[in-house]
Symmetry: C2
Subunit: 357 residues, 2 copies
């Protein structure tokens, strides 16, 4: 089999050993002679998976048991609604930073439920930078931000000091770099970009935020219900949670977040340096806000796109077409992406320059 260099923006690349272990668990899980797909979520073997998956999140974020960890279904998009539903009081206020499509969607849901303030937005420049020097209202119930913007290739490099609990959507850069979880009231992430397959969303929430809203809540929309049920109020997405745990184990085994941060920086530097050097390309994001996870770049001459597309496809590269809101190209270099794949892309860019510059 020829190796495919998978730059997909999400669901994205996972470590090869994780996929092998996931494949084996479909046939025989934990030597039970049963598939992981057919065992009870209440079996002691799966309860051990759930416990380890929850504890590993706390460990990687360096937080204690004041934070509850949940693995829910419905995607980060469901959280866009659950966050104001649970945290925004009827006479309260929510504050949001708008850095792209996902933040905009989160803001839309909050507005449906109460007073919502957008403290700053980079919409004026098609979200190609991260706003700074904004003021977070001290009377807000929470401040919501998106750490990495998959579509535009921007990333918050320094989180603000917030007078109110910060709620952060880390779907596309969770555990890609060292982050102190204690700075946040809540962190959430759809697994399918940097942590596992599609189908589960991790929610880590501080106990002080639970039950803050006086709203009467549907059970499945209530964090308190899921916390009480230890993330098993109802049948959880068993397989996606297990594969997420496998990915977290892989990360820990190799040196954890400190190790991967270094690797991710190397990969990003390699590609950004080529984008800046190569006469045919340019990057779309402001340099100081460039994401290490999603690297967006365009051709000066868009008419050359078919030629470039031909070259990277020949090199077995996959998934680098940009999102329609930005166009051009986007290389997603999530944790599991080996530097060899980035090198392969750089080589194609160099060969392309030789031919067309």
């Amino acid at each position: 089999m020829k190796k495919v260099h998978n730059f997909s923006a999400g669901p994205g690349i996972l470590p090869a050993e994780v996929m092998k272990q996931a494949s084996e668990a479909c046939i025989n899980f934990n030597d039970l002679n049963l598939s992981l797909l057919e065992i009870s979520h209440r079996s002691k073997d799966f309860e051990a998976v759930m416990d380890e998956a929850r504890n590993t999140i706390r460990e990687l974020f360096g937080v204690n048991e004041d934070y509850s960890v949940l693995y829910l279904g419905g995607g980060a998009s469901l959280q866009f609604g659950m966050i104001p539903y649970n945290l925004l009081r009827s006479n309260g206020k929510a504050a949001y930073l708008n850095t792209g499509v996902w933040a905009t969607k989160a803001i839309k849901e909050a507005k449906m439920l109460g007073d919502t303030v957008v403290v700053a937005s980079s919409e004026d420049k098609n979200f190609n930078y991260i706003p700074k020097n904004y003021t977070i209202p001290a009377d807000a119930d929470y401040f919501h931000l998106t750490s990495n913007n998959t579509i535009y290739g921007t990333q918050i490099k320094q989180f603000p000091n917030s007078p109110v609990p910060m709620v952060c959507d880390m779907s596309s850069d969770i555990f890609s770099r060292k982050v102190d979880g204690n700075k946040f009231g809540m962190i959430y992430a759809g697994a399918q970009k940097n942590m596992g397959p599609a189908g589960t969303t991790m929610v880590m929430i501080h106990k002080d935020l639970v039950g803050k809203s006086d709203r009467k809540k549907l059970s499945m929309m209530d964090y308190a219900v899921h916390i009480k049920g230890e993330s098993m109020y109802n049948t959880p997405p068993v397989f996606p949670i297990y594969v997420t745990l496998l990915t977290l184990r892989w990360l820990k085994k190799n040196g954890g977040v400190q190790w991967i941060e270094k690797v991710n920086q190397e990969k990003a530097d390699l590609l950004y340096n080529e984008i800046d050097r190569n006469s045919l390309f340019y990057g779309t994001a402001e340099k100081e806000d460039r994401s290490t996870m999603n690297i967006c770049f365009l051709l000066h001459k868009t008419e050359l796109e078919p030629e470039f597309d031909k070259l990277w496809k020949e090199a077995n590269i996959s998934g680098i077409r940009g999102h329609r809101d930005v166009g051009g190209y986007r290389a997603s270099t999530y944790n599991a992406m080996p530097i060899e794949s980035v090198k392969a892309l750089v080589e194609v860019m160099q060969a392309f320059e030789k031919k067309f510059a």
Copy 2:
């Protein structure tokens, strides 16, 4: 490997060939040289999976495109809330049949959102029968019922003629028997009992029911949003949906619902006949309401339980401990369970009788 007879109530047994195909897809999906776990849900290969998975539901229920089919995250428990949130008008009324714990949970969510009438309940006898001869209010927005009650081993054998749209939770017996989907306004089912692994819930809804409620709805809680997005408004649970499709393909290939209905009846008859014949056991559900999916039985002498437990464990039988609300034993004989496993259980019951009667 010794074969395990898996009678788990859910997540439950899936066909061996499905688990093999699922395992292979974790490594190389559709000969893409990519794992199913790392490809975009917007790739044409997964869009084809989603289309086939949605169309197969319509085909097996014999309905046309007036029904939309969705595969959502969050479990059937999320539907307990979404149903009244979408279908119960502010001045309207919801009608429910209470046949067990899951129906009770569904009723609780509806009551939070509006006027909710329980037309009949079998709670008086610990839900060991299905109420009949009740009246469904003609002015209700919908009538909700649970086709099969996993915990108590009861099943609705004949659906009522309802003056209002019927909404049915078929989580534990979907596609176990011939059902005309056109009788229902909406059918939903968590995949993990009879149709796939945990992590996705199928919702089939008639277009006339969509947008019925005047409520302002959070996006992810709005059926209209998911229908418009063709079940891809956000990243769907890719792997659970694919394995569900594999299971539906297996069902179709072997003769469809007509075939499996016959097989399921044979398995159930075999086990119920033994329960009725064997002097040490008795069934808990009313005979006319006995489920073909979950077969509940008790020992006359509960003190013999440890002895019986020893015997079935030796025979490599798994998952037949009853739910705590009923106690004793429950053998779940979902579609994928081969009759050989039921025979193995019957043999153990007979050996047990020889020793202890």
